[in-house]
């Protein structure tokens, strides 16, 4: 059967959500009692329609016509605002939120699938909605009721947008070193002064106002992260006057060009404290975990659409003849007939569908409340799709040959857009340190190992069980090592090995869910699972051996030698 477009596969989403994760069972939980398979499917259809008809058509235009900096303001082309308005009018922004906040309590796992449609169709435009939703979620969790009432309903209706202002020119991953100041005023507000860097959606005229959530230090507070507080700083103040938040520049990026990225100068701007003083980073990180899984979902979605486009190309591009064919007058075959092209397609399928399975699984854990397992999977769900989704996009270009390197085709843009994902919301290095330094020491790690072992036993998969056993052994070796520097030196390698074992587990689990079905989708799932076990999982062995020896190569290399 044909797919309606090359954005995502409706059939695979149906398989992942219903046949594999059995999301309908969530409706037994009181939070989701009003839902049914019918509502899940209707919501996904709506997302697919909106993504196809309102977002995908201007994806290339976003890339070609970057936002412009004109007379101190940002100018976007004219298709961005109507698309965002349509998404907001459909109630998309509040779908997973509580009913009390105007939401529909859609399960996160379904919400993740909904978002994947927009990520894949047009991440540049969708990012404005993502930022606004993340901002509103943070306000709902931590802000005083009057601030929530003043801003959140308008944000969810698409009239007001949001940003996250964390980084500064001198402080990115190291947020303890920010210098933006927030001086208290007698009326309870604060005056903010400082410069913020990499602020997506920092200025535009898509709505009536922009709510900036800004990390800043109150003078006299403790040093380091404990001195960081969170402030709500609107572009337009409640009395209608302009708050002195000045757009000082636009960053020109490799991808995500539709999303304006700005440098903002807070020049005595009025802000309201969100949450307790000194708890700014904690509040921000409460949302950061969901944001990190969201990055993984975006990377998976871009990998997926690149896969579908290169698959379509490989089926229609005639080139060359089968290896054994000697007669040059025989017709050329579509390139999908060549084993090496199929290898590249299988690899993309394994990365894209594996990554999507991982982020949907994480969405399910939010819904079932399995926080400990979610915590340990979060750095993997952020990093693995970012790393291998990008590799999938590289292969999508490769399948297209020279055409893939031109802007006439979509895949080079997907690659450039996806290149952001290993960087933002915590780089690979940060995720590796988080996984090895903190997360594998939590009960969630044991729960994860038990789940993997259960699947390996049900499938009779010795290779998965052996990889898991070695991961556990190496983790124990690393834990027992007293020198923190040596223990964490190769954390990124650990992240990559653990990620591959987790995705191998999810592939074996998906293959199990196909049962004895013989249709093309089921056989494709089993072929991709086999590909992952034969071609990918064996890469883990040498990585774990390197870790087990506490290799010092990186530590012993003097900076001056490089």
């Amino acid at each position: 059967m044909h797919e309606r477009n090359l954005i995502l596969s409706r059939r695979d989403l149906e398989f992942l959500l219903h046949d594999w994760l059995r999301v309908e069972e969530l409706t037994a939980l009181p939070r989701f009692a009003e839902h049914s398979r019918e509502t899940f499917d209707a919501v996904l259809e709506l997302a697919a329609d909106l993504a196809t008809e309102r977002f995908a058509p201007h994806n290339k235009r976003n890339d070609a016509e970057e936002p412009r900096f004109e007379e101190g303001r940002v100018v976007l082309h004219d298709e961005v605002a109507p698309a965002l308005r349509a998404a907001a009018e459909a109630g998309l922004l509040s779908a997973t939120m509580d009913e009390s906040a105007g939401g529909l309590q859609l399960p996160h796992v379904v919400g993740t699938a909904v978002q994947a449609w927009f990520h894949a169709a047009n991440v540049g435009t969708w990012a404005y909605a993502m930022l606004t939703v993340a901002n509103a979620n943070l306000l709902l969790a931590h802000a005083a009721p009057e601030l929530v009432e003043r801003y959140v309903p308008d944000m969810l209706a698409g009239r007001v947008h949001g940003t996250m202002c964390l980084s500064e020119p001198q402080a990115g991953s190291s947020l303890a070193d920010i210098t933006t100041r927030a001086e208290p005023r007698s009326d309870g507000t604060h005056v903010l002064t400082g410069t913020k860097m990499w602020i997506s959606g920092g200025d535009h005229e898509l709505g009536e106002n922009i709510v900036h959530l800004v990390l800043a230090k109150v003078p006299g507070g403790p040093p380091g992260v404990k001195g960081i507080s969170l402030f709500l700083v609107p572009k337009v103040l409640p009395d209608g006057t302009r708050n002195p938040v000045v757009l000082t520049g636009i960053n020109h990026k490799m991808g995500w060009r539709g999303t304006v990225n700005t440098v903002l100068s807070f020049e005595g701007a009025t802000g309201w404290l969100v949450g307790a003083e000194g708890r700014g980073l904690a509040a921000m990180f409460h949302m950061m975990n969901e944001a990190r899984v969201g990055v993984g979902a975006g990377a998976a979605a871009l990998a997926y659409t690149g896969y579908l486009k290169s698959l379509d190309y490989a089926k229609s591009r005639p080139q060359g003849r089968p290896a054994g064919a000697k007669n040059p007058s025989t017709p050329m075959v579509p390139i999908i007939e060549h084993a090496d092209v199929r290898r590249m397609l299988l690899a993309q399928k394994a990365y894209a569908e594996g990554a999507l399975a991982l982020v949907l699984y994480c969405g399910m854990l939010v819904d079932t409340g399995e926080r400990e397992l979610l915590e340990v999977l979060t750095p993997i769900a952020k990093s693995w799709p970012s790393q291998w989704g990008l590799e999938a996009n590289a292969l999508a270009i490769q399948v297209h040959g020279g055409y893939g390197y031109t802007r006439e085709y979509d895949v080079e843009q997907h690659y450039r857009d996806n290149r952001l994902n290993p960087i933002h919301e915590g780089t690979h290095g940060i995720q590796g340190a988080d996984l090895l330094g903190r997360k594998v020491r939590t009960p969630g790690f044991e729960q994860l190992c038990a789940r993997i072992a259960d699947t390996a036993a049900r499938a009779g998969s010795k290779e998965l069980q052996q990889a898991l056993d070695r991961l556990v052994e190496v983790t124990e070796i690393l834990h027992a090592h007293p020198d923190a520097e040596e223990r964490l030196a190769n954390a990124s390698v650990y992240l990559e090995a653990a990620g591959h074992i987790v995705v191998a587990w999810l592939w074996v689990d998906q293959a199990l869910a196909t049962g004895d079905r013989q249709d093309a989708l089921a056989r494709g799932k089993r072929a991709a699972a086999q590909y992952f076990l034969r071609f990918e999982l064996p890469k883990v062995g040498p990585q774990l051996e390197l870790l087990a020896t506490l290799d010092r190569t990186t530590l012993d290399t003097e900076p001056t030698w490089l």
């Binding site: 059967m1 259809e45 709506l46 009018e89 109630g91 529909l104």
Partner: protein, 261 residues
């Protein structure tokens, strides 16, 4: 105002459509099924009239197998108030005349209908005849191919657009109006609309419930019969013409041979 919209679930035009090998009727299992796009426009017209006329109600009527409920839910999630679904195995293979007869019986179960709306032609059967047949059987004015539609008091006015030109038609209500693809852009359902649709009433009727004679419907009652069908042939490799200075003449000869020029 009580507005009834006739809707149909059809195979998605993006999917490969097939006839079943047995009786040459549509192989519904081989395709994705959707609410026909032209019917979405009819629903949109009904909703716009409802919004302009307080106290109006929009009822959706569909005829088709059980899974046609998906198309009905879509119309309800857009904002229609309730639905009637004629679902009976005996309707399989019904032609345009049988469909019109059956729909008229279903419409008879609804009281006080002021306006019946429909798409002017379904994207699968493409007979384009059912709305006019329904009007004829009901003895009501038939206004087809509407590009614009207004209701003022008890009068309906449409701007009828066909290949032959534009005509302005007026009739007293009740009446049957079919709309064309230019009449509007249908709204998207909203998430809230999807949740609300779950709770809206859908009455399912069998032939007996609607008082339809089994002899009026089904494949055996159809006035036309499909005796044979074949899938379209795959694309052939084409014909190569070597240009030895006479390429233009050869191409012209080819086109003449194909009766294309």
């Amino acid at each position: 105002m009580n507005i009834v919209v006739l809707v149909k679930q059809v195979p998605d035009t993006y999917s490969e459509r097939k006839l079943s090998s047995g009786d040459h009727t549509l192989d519904r299992d081989a395709t994705d099924a959707v609410l026909d796009e032209i019917d979405e426009r009819a629903v949109e017209s009904a909703l716009q009239l409802k919004e302009a006329n307080d106290g109006s109600e929009v009822t959706v009527v569909a005829m088709g197998p059980d899974r046609a409920t998906d198309a009905i839910r879509k119309a309800l999630s857009m904002g229609a108030d309730k639905a009637v679904h004629l679902s009976d195995e005996a309707i399989h293979g019904t032609d345009a005349i049988g469909t019109a007869k059956a729909l008229v019986k279903v419409l008879g179960t609804l009281e006080g209908t002021d306006l019946v709306l429909a798409g002017n032609e379904a994207s699968d059967g493409r007979t384009g005849a059912v709305p006019a047949m329904v009007a004829e059987l009901l003895g009501l004015p038939s206004l087809t191919h509407a590009r614009e539609l207004t209701v003022d008091g008890g009068t309906v006015t449409v701007r009828r657009e066909t290949d032959d030109g534009v005509t302005v038609l007026t009739a007293e209500l009740p009446a049957v109006v079919s709309v064309n693809e230019k009449i509007n852009e249908p709204r998207y359902p909203s998430f809230k609309g999807i949740m609300a649709a779950k709770k809206k009433p859908v009455t399912t009727l069998t032939l007996a419930d609607a008082g339809i004679e089994p002899s009026d419907v089904g494949l055996s009652a159809a006035w036309s019969t499909v005796t044979e069908s074949n899938p379209k042939p795959p694309k052939s490799g084409g014909e190569k013409v070597e240009d030895e200075g006479d390429g233009g003449s050869k191409i012209a000869a080819f086109l003449v041979g194909q009766k294309l020029i």
